[in-house]
């Protein structure tokens, strides 16, 4: 009880922990946003207290006794009414100015911010680091105490990046760039949610912001950018299921259950045997062979990733976006290898059982 009471009086020192109203502060702007929030909240407490107190006192003191009509009290008081028009007006002007200054700070990214390109797509986030040529999915690694600018666009509908602990939010719009910036002040992991409704799996469009020490950042990025290049074919499945599958998981399950797209469980067997029917009425096995659409099953999978609308499996809507230009050749190979070895990578419930380096997961 006492902790709730003290958190009402939350001071807003930088990096304050979560309190009654707000989550913990993890960016440089959070402190000023929270300060504004509590200034307004205290004004609210004050007015709500006055209004409620008046209501209760009047209810008790002037409660009707009997049915007689008793008339007293003034019908108007112009100076009083003008006063309670002007005073709130002054108050809200002050709130506006404070809020606007905070907003301008949120708007302008400092010179020399570290740039990340963000793409929203139903229903996952892709983060590209142009400086390192590294791409992350559903996970964004950034250095601590460094201003980071997200340059964002969408491939399909509106989305919105919201990182509550950083107090930043911006819509992501197709055909247009929007941006936001933040400077994380503490190493740790933070939630990034989609805040603009974007269809079926809106609530699963989630990413983790991983804030790591500055000195580790470059090393991590270089490793991320090139880790698959030196891998042998045997190492690729473990890489794909850990690094690439999170891009697929909102629509494709690993345990055989239904979702927006077909489950990956047993997918390779179905594809290899050609036992897949399309909306067009064609059957995959009829498309295999020399000088036909797909020479080998691997080609069908490649085409499904790069041109998913060409053949849509019967019973599905064809909601899959194209990954053209987002996946390197070797990464596509890795995905195909992942399908071939899926049984070794997951257990019966569809949980992933290996780490990116191939060691078994705890």
């Amino acid at each position: 009880m006492f902790s709730i009471f003290t958190s009402l009086f939350a001071t807003t020192t930088q990096g304050a922990p979560a309190n009654f109203w707000l989550p913990k502060q993890a960016s440089t702007v959070a402190q000023s946003v929270d300060h504004t929030f509590f200034v307004i909240t205290w004004i609210c407490y004050f007015f709500l207290f006055v209004i409620t107190a008046a209501l209760i006192i009047f209810m008790i003191k002037y409660r009707r006794k009997g049915n007689d009509v008793i008339v007293k009290g003034p019908t108007h008081n112009t100076p009083l009414e003008i006063a309670w028009t002007i005073l709130p007006l002054l108050l809200v002007v002050v709130i506006f100015v404070v809020g606007m200054r905070g907003y301008l700070d949120l708007q302008q990214a400092p010179e020399g911010s570290y740039d990340v390109q963000v793409t929203g797509q139903k229903w996952s986030w892709t983060f590209e680091h142009p400086k390192y040529g590294a791409t992350q999915v559903a996970e964004l690694t950034v250095p601590v105490n460094t201003p980071v600018r997200l340059l964002m666009t969408s491939n399909d509908v509106l989305h919105s990046v919201w990182i509550p602990d950083f107090r930043v939010k911006m819509d992501v719009i197709p055909g247009r760039y929007t941006s936001l910036w933040f400077e994380a002040i503490a190493v740790g992991e933070y939630n990034l949610n989609c805040a603009e409704y974007c269809g079926k799996d809106h609530s699963k469009m989630f990413a983790t912001v991983r804030v790591i020490p500055k000195e580790d950042f470059e090393k991590t990025m270089i490793k991320l950018a090139s880790e698959y290049e030196d891998m042998s074919v045997g190492q690729l499945p473990a890489y794909a299921i850990n690094r690439l599958y999170n891009r697929c998981q909102s629509c494709h399950t690993l345990d055989g259950s239904e979702s927006t797209g077909p489950s990956f469980k047993g997918l390779w067997d179905r594809v290899k045997s050609g036992d897949v029917n399309f909306i067009s009425g064609e059957k995959l096995s009829n498309l295999y062979g020399e000088s036909t659409t797909y020479e080998v099953p691997e080609n069908y999978i490649r085409s499904s990733l790069l041109d998913p609308q060409s053949h849509i499996v019967k019973g599905y809507l064809g909601a899959m976006p194209s990954f053209q230009g987002q996946l390197k050749d070797k990464q596509i190979t890795a995905i195909i290898e992942m399908f071939k070895h899926l049984d070794e990578l997951t257990d019966a419930e569809g949980n992933i059982t290996v780490n990116p380096d191939g060691t078994p997961r705890q």
Binding site: T153, P174, G175, R176, Y177, T178
Partner: protein
């Protein structure tokens, strides 16, 4: 239509406009329609103002709407209050369109030029 005993009696019947006058107004409107058609056929790129066609067409449309309002809808002879409401609602539209367009102009620089997949698809289709 219900009535109360004390409602206003000043303009129960309204103003009557001679039919010849209405035909005259109608002719003006038809003439303006012809102007719009002519404008739509004229290629203004020669004088380097490609949008001129739209500007002229909208200007003509505004004049026509005003004439319809003034004469066919009798605003010219009605009480000033009704005219005030009419002008007020025009200002209201200006406010709405004005603010919305000011904003779109403000954020034009952030639009990704040429990123219109459906348009490019249609163009491809036309080529083949």
């Amino acid at each position: 239509m219900s009535n109360t005993d004390s409602s206003h009696h000043d303009d129960q019947i309204g103003h009557i406009v001679p039919i010849k006058f209405l035909i005259f107004i109608c002719c003006i409107l038809l003439f303006l329609t012809a102007v719009t058609v002519w404008v739509s056929r004229y290629d203004f790129t020669e004088i380097n103002i490609a949008e001129m066609g739209i500007i002229l067409a909208l200007a003509v449309a505004t004049v026509k709407a005003t004439i319809v309002g003034l004469y066919f809808m009798h605003l010219r002879w009605d009480r000033a209050f009704v005219g005030f409401i009419f002008v007020g609602s025009i200002l209201f539209v200006v406010l709405f369109i004005g603010i919305a367009l000011t904003d779109t102009m403000e954020y034009q620089p952030s639009i990704i030029k040429g990123d219109t997949p459906k348009v490019s698809d249609a163009m491809d289709l036309l080529k083949h």
